[in-house]
Symmetry: C2
Subunit: 296 residues, 2 copies
């Protein structure tokens, strides 16, 4: 029996890991992605990293989590903002030239969702909605331990959920979309525009912990929209559990306590005490762990 | 082999039908529900109607579509606004006293979704999101020909999706929820409040077809919100097909043409030509057909 490889391909770093059957990282290599050098450069690096990690062992499956948009059914990376210059890269076909085994590509949030569902805070639940609140806001739906990618692979793209038509526009998303209010980037931008607070979301939370009222207002708004988004997901999907990760959620009680309260305001009465929000537990390794699970 | 019964329990009428394996209605009885006479009265009527339809044949399965909120896992109707005075009615247990066979309860939109997915416009698709735009706005998600009910049975309750915080409040739903903008009731109310137009949604569409600009503005707003709701569902679930039914959709081109255009504005570029919107095709029978499929 061979080994399983999980790859977390990000705009800054690419991580290649050997993951065992218990979802543990046995070996991991990390290098800079340098997307500006083009996909061929990165693919060559990935192949070399797999070779190093496999070290002669048979490779039974390779899973890759990568920034969207991408097409998981065709194994092609389309034109992600986080991999500038990449366009229609048939990553699965390229890797198959070197490893004629099962290879699956999915977006990074879906891969992390799968990791959390099988080995993290979503373990044992029938349906898991994973949410990441980080630079952006993304998500992934896992049903019966399988990623539900959707027809074109856009399931879980909750950052683009409209919550306030005509509202704040962020990047190429819809006006008033969730990501424009609740992402770390949005929090940092809003704090700077309104009050000249510098240093991004981390600085804003630092100020909140010191009792700063202006920073508190910025965070309150972000949490309000995140709560509305979670209520919408409940009335659309009603998953058994929400698993929520990403850098912003590391602010701990400052975000978790008000978030749990605010979500309740927007739920049908019968759901108020039933919606289950859990912090993600695999932290930085969810990407490679989840990716390796795409093939098994 | 026995027969399969589908029951469509509404606030006004209750319909009991024998549905064959091809999803065809072989026999149907309809009576008034008279919910104010209490659940026992209605249950007795239902039992009598089943007896008449079965006519001595063995009953292999009974499925019931009913107004929410209800708990499909426990077979209990909670306290639906459309069945006033009903509270915690264990309908499945009650019917099992008479028919010791498989009996399933789900909400009416989920039942209709299942009917459309197996025998209507959703036939052959892996994932179907059914939407009904009628007195209210509801929906149901079907994956691999099975209803996805969610943890507490609230999957598909899209009428309560927040699209405009602080916006129009309708019934017991969230402020600015989809149903408050796009339902037939909302269209009628809005037309009356803004312009004194009487006669409900039907009268509004009649005026639109005559070129009335005020009625057009009311409809434009309703379609705009419906389009945002569909875009949100696409970025959350990305189903293979949306099947859209309900009385409001019978306005034909007046609603379908602008709806298809407006949805595109809110989609990721890669999805613009791919989102698949289809009119429901089982019309009034989707309820009993879908209900009968809950047990098979």
């Amino acid at each position: 029996m061979g080994i399983h490889i999980g790859i977390d391909l990000g705009g800054t770093n690419v991580r290649v890991a050997k993951i065992n059957n218990n979802g543990m990282v046995e070996e991991l290599l990390q290098e800079q992605t340098e997307p500006e050098k083009g996909p061929i450069h990165t693919i060559e690096n990935i192949v070399r990293m797999i070779e190093t990690i496999a070290d002669g062992e048979k490779v039974d499956g390779i899973g890759i989590g990568a920034p969207g948009p991408l097409d998981p059914h065709k194994g092609v990376i389309l034109n992600p903002p986080n991999l500038p210059g990449w366009e229609e890269v048939y990553l699965v076909d390229e890797l198959k030239k070197h490893y004629p085994t099962e290879i699956q590509l999915n977006n990074d949030a879906n891969a992390a969702a799968l990791g959390e569902a099988r080995f993290g805070s979503g373990k044992g639940y029938h349906s898991v909605f994973y949410i990441t609140v980080s630079t952006g806001v993304g998500g992934g739906l896992v049903i019966d331990d399988q990623v539900f990618s959707g027809a074109q692979g856009y399931s879980g793209e909750i950052g683009n959920m409209i919550l306030n038509p005509g509202g704040y526009q962020y990047s190429n998303l819809n006006k008033g979309a969730l990501e424009g209010y609740a992402s770390g980037t949005a929090i940092g931008q809003r704090a700077y525009e309104l009050y000249g607070i510098e240093g991004g979301a981390e600085a804003v939370f630092e100020l909140v912990s010191e009792g700063d009222k202006r920073a508190q207002r910025v965070i309150d708004e972000a949490i309000e929209y995140l709560a509305m988004g979670i209520a919408n997901l409940t009335h659309i999907v009603n998953p058994d559990v929400f698993v929520i990760g990403g850098g912003v959620m590391k602010a701990g009680d400052l975000i978790w306590i008000p978030l749990r309260e605010k979500v309740k305001k927007y739920l049908y009465p019968g759901l108020v005490d039933k919606v289950n929000l859990q912090p993600a537990s695999l932290s930085g390794d969810a990407g490679v762990i989840g990716a390796s699970l795409l093939t098994r």
